[in-house]
Symmetry: C2
DNA sequence: CGCGATTTGTGCACGTCTTCACAAGCGCCT
DNA sequence: AGGCGCTTGTGAAGACGTGCACAAATCGCG
């Protein structure tokens, strides 16, 4: 389930604030989901909640981390140390959530050799050598879209089976390789769509004349986080 | 539909490479989705495809941009010009996809006054004044999680009804305000989960002994981009 | 002018996800 | 020891998204 990481984050928050147990309702609130949904998710893990009490925070963290495969700290390779790549390389949120940035790569000789956060940027052609030394589990692509497919192929060639892609393009990969995409412009466009829909609802549909008068109503968007009570 | 932006990007690619029309199958390939799904999505727009020919690329772009509300170039306010905020402020992908970064804010006096990409960082307390001058449609939060809720409240107070949140926390906003969240660690954890699942399937379930021997099988994840043929 | 190739639009069935509602279980207090 | 309140786990119903398969429509060509 894609919600488990969210639960995990909420649980860590609770653990830090001293809670030993948490009810499904409390955790659901902290994670921003329905409590029934949360219970069903947790029951899928074969989880051990105690009726009348709730869930043991520490135990649940262990459970979820095990299922997510976070018991081993996976090595991440970041390719493309540009604008975005720099920010990612300097981000400590990866290390604190079960990952280790193992190597940085770029194709630009200007950047190779640069040190960021204790790691030296290496040339992308060295990827096979580095991959032989470290078991790279996940590749992150932060190159321009034009280079993304090539980089993906290179990552797959050295045995990487999970890729996080920030470039705005579709990647072709062999079966068995997982790709997740993050595209900020798409997120903004979805928000823009909602803005437009909201505006169309308040202002009466008096505007007409164009061939494009169909109101954008009744279109659903996979919810990211709907409005929740104040 | 959350897939419309993806179609739009693929259409722009096609337009640049000289295509005037495109079949549902062609566009579906470019966007990485099923062709039937794409046709159903497009029919929801009241779209005008021509049977036997396909869709007019230019017309379809106009259609989708209208529905997404991209006909007006929306103003975006970015709050938190740190590690990540810098990368976002310097990103040209927003401008080219229908948005305009209208203002940068930070709470750190050290950063206020700094110029990034032609924009001067302003203090977050100036938000009300700036919002009065420009109609800010979307707020982007790139502050630490501890400050995110406060910033969200400030954005809502000046009339922002759409927020893109990069901080790893759940935001409480009044009804009518849309929040979308981007959490990179969650993306990595989902990939890690798949890695773990793949490993559990190849290696026979011979490992046992711990109380946590339940194999993480049968759990579904909302697909981001599944493996597609080479 | 007619026919075939091609492609859209959609009815239908299926599987998945979501939510409600409630019985079963647990602990605490008397 | 017993009852009471609270919480989990889950059955069932409904909503929703997905994909197949095919009829209807359009174009090009003979
Ligand atoms: N900057 C942002 O905030 C932002 C936001 C959303 C998406 N993106 C996307 O992320 C990607 C990177 O953005 P950016 O702003 O960092 O761009 P950038 O141009 O600053 O950085 C790209 C880096 O990739 C390197 N590179 C190019 N080809 C390579 C190859 N074949 N192998 C290895 N490295 C290679 C370049 O040398 C450069 O250092 C782009 O696809 C962009 O659309 C960026
Ligand atoms: N850097 C990354 O690659 C990355 C990746 C994923 C998520 N994030 C998240 O994005 C957020 C920002 O990350 P970062 O690395 O840029 O952190 P950062 O510490 O470099 O930057 C945070 C900025 O926010 C400013 N700020 C703090 N409180 C503020 C307030 N009340 N109002 C306005 N500005 C305020 C700070 O002055 C600072 O400049 C964090 O929540 C982080 O978890 C970052």
């Amino acid at each position: 389930m894609a919600r488990l990481p969210e639960y995990l984050r909420a649980l860590h928050n609770l653990a830090e604030t001293g809670h030993e147990t948490v009810s499904s309702e409390g955790l659901a609130n902290a994670a921003g989901v329905n409590s029934a949904k949360l219970r069903k998710d947790l029951s899928q893990l074969g989880s051990y909640g105690t009726r009348g009490v709730g869930y043991d925070v520490g135990l649940l963290i262990d459970q979820i981390e095990y299922v997510l495969g976070l018991t081993q700290r996976r090595a991440v390779a970041l390719v493309g140390v540009g604008n975005l790549g720099h920010a990612l390389a300097g981000y400590d949120g990866f290390a604190s959530r079960g990952f280790r940035i193992a190597a940085l790569f770029d194709a630009d000789q200007e950047r190779v050799g640069e040190e960021i956060n204790g790691l030296v940027v290496q040339h992308i052609d060295d990827l096979p050598r580095v991959a032989a030394e470290e078991a790279i589990a996940i590749g992150v692509i932060a190159t321009p879209a034009t280079a993304a497919q090539r980089v993906a192929d290179q990552l797959v060639a050295v045995g990487v089976t999970s890729i996080l892609n920030f470039a705005p393009c579709v990647l072709s990969v062999p079966e068995g390789v997982d790709v997740r995409k993050v595209d900020l412009a798409i997120e903004l466009q979805i928000l823009s769509f909602h803005e437009h829909r909201k505006a169309s609802l308040t202002a009466l549909p008096a505007a007409g004349g164009s061939a494009l008068t169909a109101l954008p109503g009744g279109l659903a968007v996979t919810e990211s986080q709907e409005a929740i009570g104040t």
